[in-house]
């Protein structure tokens, strides 16, 4: 019998959430005023949760490490947000979105959570429009949609290539309204350093003021962690520089199980690395695959010539191009899910067909010339230019592409100094999102009572691979529409508790342990910077726990990370003091956590003896290089319990039951 109780409500799938809401305990408005909730992180999940809880009447204390909640990394999401509105009348429905998400996640997510997500998806769009989020519209004034990978309908709502920005600013607006009213006490430039448990329940946090360096005690009746994903364990990723695992890791070390850490999304279309001085990678939205075609030269000698700078993509004739996604996956073509597209790019590059100018040749083409001509012809027809020249058609088509993806093309040009309208873009996969995270039940509560985890920081909805435009959906679903119900059911028992004092032994101890870590760092006589260790960790992770994994390299990674961690504690050098603004100190604490997570991550990858979604084990693949799942032995969530060192962590399993969807081999052919 598993120690994990997912607390799935009874009844048929489609009625579970409604029945649940009808049967939970409520807190009356007067009592909400005497209940405090801490929210760590102000991205789409944390921001929407903070705003909604404050609107309901709770006293919210929100924390972010940035100088304003508006800067959380949700802001960088480009492509869009899914919702089962079926505005296009193309056969979409709640069931279809549910099915696509479970299948896209390679049958490793919880049916009930995903169904609820699909159910509330339509409310999100209504809510955002009511807030004044300027989604893209068509000429009739109604909302426009586009397509994302792994689906055959158009259900993605968008605001050019800045959907995340517009949604986050919507959240931030809603938060601002509550900050103005005093219902949200906003703590900018604060980092959560520790969770405080009183009698086994989450009752507060220790936060560090990043301006003064002071440690602060904050108490509440419940703590919500919404701190995002841990992709920066790879050092180079599309995450923001400050994105970190620390809030999730601190609660893990205090009793929250960490689920499926090895499920990482490597996004197929990012700008390739330029060299060793690189600090982060930049995504090119998946929406580009609506119109862009991915290819490499069909002849090895052409690829070699491109790498040597003797040819460019334009010199390679149409018949000498290998549109490998269209070739391998004719029914989904360029819009296969991210994990499939990334592995296919790696396969071609490893086989010697890459077109990157770096030593590894790591790049493939993303080409818009066909789309430019297609749109150009359409425009020519619309405007009655029936004998338009190729040049005119190209000009008209370029204009259409500019309107659709202008900001992405501009971003590409700024980084690479190449004009993507004229020459095909070069792209390569990069770490982008982590499906794994803190284990939560149906209520989004972790294994610590009163401690919740929402958004990318939890593990719940995307299984082993997330579909495009679903992260924004999950963040807002959790914060606007799920947590505000589930947390009320828990807080109903706290109406007589009264304010939680912060002068207790529990707060003393938590603060002391944080202070001693801070003191250690600034007093350590090390010789190497924090980045030195972070970069080395990233290299181990990328080379051995990246897109393709096997038993041998995973074991090597575990040993190397352990050694690196020991070296870090001996040799790390942090300048300055703990009682002042000290970005290096903040980084040191985050990297210390990444060095532990990295090892657990590799152990999880080793324990999962199958390939599923973003987790690809070379031992478990077909001759054609397709992933092989093992449903008999691995239709479960792995949830790790902390027991000291990452090597001591104990694995628990939550069996996944598929009652509404039949498990099938995922095929996009």
């Amino acid at each position: 019998m598993s120690v994990l109780d997912s607390k799935i409500p009874e009844g048929p799938l489609k009625d579970k959430w409604t029945n649940y809401k009808n049967n939970i305990k409520l807190v009356n408005p007067a009592n909400k005023r005497s209940i405090d909730v801490i929210v760590v992180g102000t991205g789409l999940a944390g921001g929407s949760a903070a705003a909604t809880l404050a609107e309901l009447g709770y006293n919210v204390k929100a924390f972010c490490y940035q100088d304003s909640p508006r800067r959380a990394h949700s802001i960088a999401a480009q492509g869009g947000i899914n919702a089962a509105k079926n505005y296009q009348g193309d056969g979409d429905s709640i069931h279809r979105l549910f099915y696509d998400t479970v299948k896209g996640g390679d049958y490793r997510s919880r049916e009930e959570n995903v169904y609820r997500l699909a159910e509330v998806s339509t409310n999100i769009i209504d809510q955002c429009v009511a807030q004044g989020v300027p989604f893209a519209r068509d000429y009739g004034g109604l909302l426009d949609n586009r397509s994302f990978g792994g689906v055959q309908v158009s259900r993605t709502f968008y605001a050019k290539g800045q959907t995340g920005q517009q949604l986050l600013l919507g959240c931030y607006s809603a938060m601002s309204r509550q900050i103005g009213k005093g219902k949200i006490e906003m703590h900018n430039r604060h980092e959560m350093m520790e969770i405080v448990k009183v009698d086994g329940k989450a009752r507060g946090i220790i936060a560090r003021n990043l301006v003064t360096g002071e440690l602060e005690r904050h108490s509440a009746h419940a703590v919500v962690i919404a701190s995002g994903g841990y992709g920066n364990v790879f050092y180079l990723s599309t995450n923001a520089m400050g994105s970190n695992v620390s809030a999730g890791w601190k609660i893990h070390k205090k009793g929250a199980f960490f689920a499926n850490p090895c499920y990482t999304q490597i996004h197929p279309t990012c700008i390739p690395q330029h060299g060793d001085q690189q600090s982060k990678l930049t995504l090119m939205s998946e929406s580009l695959r609506n119109d862009g075609r991915i290819w490499v030269p069909a002849k090895k000698e052409d690829a070699e010539a491109v790498r040597a700078g003797k040819l460019t993509g334009l010199d390679i004739a149409e018949e000498d191009r290998d549109y490998y996604l269209e070739r391998r996956y004719p029914s989904f073509g360029n819009l296969v899910p991210r994990d499939v597209a990334s592995r296919a790019a790696k396969e071609r590059t490893d086989a010697g067909y890459g077109v990157g100018t770096s030593e590894s040749g790591e790049a493939v083409y993303l080409d818009f010339s066909a789309a430019i001509m297609r749109y150009g012809q359409e425009q020519a027809n619309i405007h009655g230019h029936h004998d338009a020249s190729d040049a005119k058609i190209k000009e008209l088509g370029t204009d259409v592409i500019e309107k659709k993806y202008g900001n992405l093309f501009q971003m590409y040009e700024k980084i690479t100094a190449d004009n993507p309208y004229a020459t095909p873009m070069k792209i390569y996969p990069a770490v982008h999102y982590t499906m794994g995270g803190v284990w939560v039940d149906y209520n989004l509560m972790t294994t610590i009572e009163g401690c919740y985890c929402i958004g990318e920081a939890n593990f719940s909805d995307h299984g082993a691979n997330r579909l495009g435009a679903s992260a924004l959906m999950q963040g807002l679903a959790d914060g606007y529409f799920v947590l505000p119900y589930t947390i009320g059911d828990y807080l109903a028992d706290d109406i007589r508790t009264g304010a939680i004092p912060t002068d207790s032994v529990d707060f003393d101890e938590a603060e002391k342990s944080v202070q001693s870590q801070m003191d250690f760092f600034v007093n350590n006589n090390g010789t190497k910077s924090v980045d030195y260790f972070h970069k080395r960790l990233g290299k181990i992770m990328w080379n051995k726990v990246g897109m393709a994994r096997n038993e041998k390299v995973l074991n090597e990674a575990i040993t190397e990370i352990k050694q690196l961690r020991e070296e870090f504690w001996k040799e790390v050098k942090v300048p300055g003091t703990s009682a002042s603004m000290n970005p290096e100190l903040a980084k040191a604490a985050r990297v210390a956590d990444f060095l532990e997570l990295g090892e657990l991550f590799a152990r999880d990858a080793l324990a999962r003896e199958e390939s599923c979604g973003g987790h690809y084990r070379e031992e478990h693949s077909t001759e054609e290089g397709e992933a092989m799942r093992d449903d008999k032995n691995f239709t479960h969530v792995t949830a790790w319990e902390h027991k000291g060192e990452p090597s001591d962590a104990v694995l628990h399993k939550e069996e996944l039951k598929y009652e509404n969807i039949e498990l099938k081999t995922r095929s996009y052919k």
């Binding site: 909604t52 990394h73 960088a76 509105k85 769009i125 300027p134 920005q165 501009q410 971003m411 300048p575």
Partner: protein
Amino acid sequence: MSAAKGLNLTLKVWRQKNDKDKGLMETYQVSDISADSSFLEMMDILNEQLINEGNDPVAFDHDCREGICGSCSMYINGEAHGPGREITTCQLHMREFKDGETIYIEPWRAKAFPVIKDLVVDRGGFDRIMAAGGFVSVNTSGNTQDANNIPIPKADADKAFDAATCIGCGACVATCKNASAMLFVSAKVSQFALLPQGKVEASERVQNMVAQMDEEGFGNCTNTGACEVECPKGISLENIARMNREYLNASFTSEET
């Protein structure tokens, strides 16, 4: 694309321990910087060098490093976000500089943006202006009307979007000789003024946001247009004109005195 040889540069960087400290320009040398590196990657290299020499690294705000979070905020060679148009500091690349060049790096300078440390300033004033009215007063319920019940002419939606792309970096304030925040405030006022959802509270919103802007100590607008030139998102001056109309309209029609 890659440079044959890295750049050697002299950096003059503003150093200030805290808000009480007077601050001064310090001189540093960096060498072998790849032309493909971003400006902030060059700053990382400088910091790595400072740490290894046992010195305090330069504090600066940065996060997404792809031009959207609005954290980075450097005044480079006398320009907000440095040379180049419609970019943030993190999108500035070293290929814009010449070998041997001296680069001056300062924080945003404005009364309403006090320096916290080195190149880090406090932009909390922007948050407080937002809290004064930068929203539509609608609670989360899931029971709002269907999104497509509010058709919005594409031209209005597009204009609202263009205004809404402001990243709140503060380059407009740093650039303006009056340290005015009019471009920032007008972008938010315009976004909502252009949309039916925002019209209900339009009059109250513009008055409250402008009042807060004045209270924060931002200067007034004298139409020099420098903000529009330096804005990394190309927010148009038209928004300031629209805000002035909204404000005037609100002051004539408002019931409060």
